[in-house]
Amino acid sequence: MNKQNPQEFVKPDADLRMPNRLRSDFPILQRKVHGYPLVYLDNAATTHKPQVVLDRIQEVYKDGYSNIHRGVHYLSGVASQAYEDARKTVREFINAPHEHEVIFTGGATDSINLVAASFGDAFVQEGDEIIVSGMEHHSNIVPWHMMCRRTGARVRTLPVSENGTLEPATLKELISPKTRLVCLVYVSHVLGTVNDMQELIRLCHEQDVPVLVDGAQAVQHMQVDVRELDADFFVFSGHKIFSETGIGVLYGKEDWLDKIPPYRGGGGMISSVTMEQTSFGELPFKFEAGTANYVAAISLAAALDYVKQAGLDAIKAHEDDLLAYALDRLDELDGLTIYGNPPNRCSVVSFNLDGIHHYDAGMVLDKKGIAVRTGKLCAEPLLRRLGVDGVIRASFALYNSKEDVDQLIEGIKTAHNLFRA
């Protein structure tokens, strides 16, 4: 890097230059779909991968691949080091106090299942209650239903307010001496709501109730500090923040992770095994049975480094600007309903075109090269609350631009013309 180059010192204008500069880092965004340049607005489902992440994956397989924490040989050491470095990168990224509080899992869903199984075994009995918000993705509902079936506990629902937020006052009323755990989404994958998580957690802690935070839609859009939030458990997926699929994170406070039993048994998570019994290993390994998806974990570290370099403040400024522009442009259109009106919203907008099925609209957008998500979005309770059986969702990432929004608007007009004629 040439330090004399004055361009190095020019802070890029978050509004205009970021997507243009960053877009070219993502090879797939250069391709066409149905003859049109790809307009990718399905980032809440998954994000694309920058070249640095793709390179890192190939580099590991070509140059530093061997099973981790197993062998005495050189390559095993290289891979183990890279994997543990990845843990360190994650710790720093979410500002966790300790590296051993960062557990690598298969994804946010896997992380939640781990807590539901282990926490359930240790702390939940018949008659107990788990509070789950009505804003959750199915991944933060179904594992709790399964846990309740095993334990005889029941799920109590924290309702979603009229404007699409989770209200601390409502939560306060719901917490009882029977409440064992509260499970809440930080950023809604349907409404884009950024919930007042710090306050929600504070209220739970007032009553000594721990909180699990689903951060799957948060980490890629804004600074997350698990210490500041004081979250007891915090989960996210790698693939939604530009890494390879099949990797996720469970952050848990040391105290809780020590108290809950291992989720899966196998190699790498023990201190000793006889034919009669097993002694479990220390954190984080007691939760990482079997060969971890360490290449994906290493790719996650590369992705987080990429995000850090782009700058989460700049990303947030850019995405906020983009969302405001999208909301304005959608608002200009007749016969369009936008769902939720939260005071703090992030990177996601769900809507419907009056008189047009979301699926028909999605099919037309697809043929214009525009990728959106349609349907129930794995959030049936929330959609029921909204009174619809499906929505169209546009969700943004750092590489999206106002031109992408313009294309979406043109696509919607095409759908209008086709189906309202």
Binding site: H357, L418, F419
Partner: protein
């Protein structure tokens, strides 16, 4: 007209419309041709599972032939249903069971209607075949 001729005619109509928007406009027109009273089939017992959009199919068996009524909550699927009915409606169960229903494979609808929709398409065709099989002899 036999099943092959009807299918070939549909394929010709679709191929003539090279652009996807034209094809969708054609499907939208077809959807409008489905009689309104077909909406009566919207009952749980007529639901076809495996589709992202909701689809309902029912059939009457009269004088050795099957007469279908079907509906969907989405326009494009309804258009596809209208085309399927052009192929199978009023035919004998044996004809339907024995036929190669290649119309959507040939028009590229199967792969280009998105995999989810393609599953739906297959589900509808499977459902119709299953109904025909119940009445087919031999």
């Amino acid at each position: 007209m036999d099943i092959t001729t009807v299918q070939n005619r549909i394929i010709e109509e679709m191929t003539r419309r090279g652009d996807w928007m034209d094809r969708y406009a054609y499907l939208t027109e077809q959807a409008k041709n489905l009689p309104e009273e077909y909406q009566e089939v919207r009952k749980d017992e007529n639901a076809v599972s495996g589709c992202q959009s909701q689809v309902w199919v029912d059939a009457d068996y009269r004088d050795g032939r099957l007469y279908f009524r079907a509906d969907s909550d989405t326009v494009l699927t309804k258009g596809i249903i209208a085309l399927i009915l052009q192929v199978v409606d009023g035919r004998t169960p044996e004809e339907i069971v024995g036929a190669d229903l290649y119309v959507f494979r040939e028009t590229g609808m199967e792969s280009n209607l998105s995999p989810a929709r393609s599953d739906g398409l297959n589900a509808i065709i499977r459902h119709i075949r299953m109904m025909a099989r119940q009445y087919a002899t031999g």
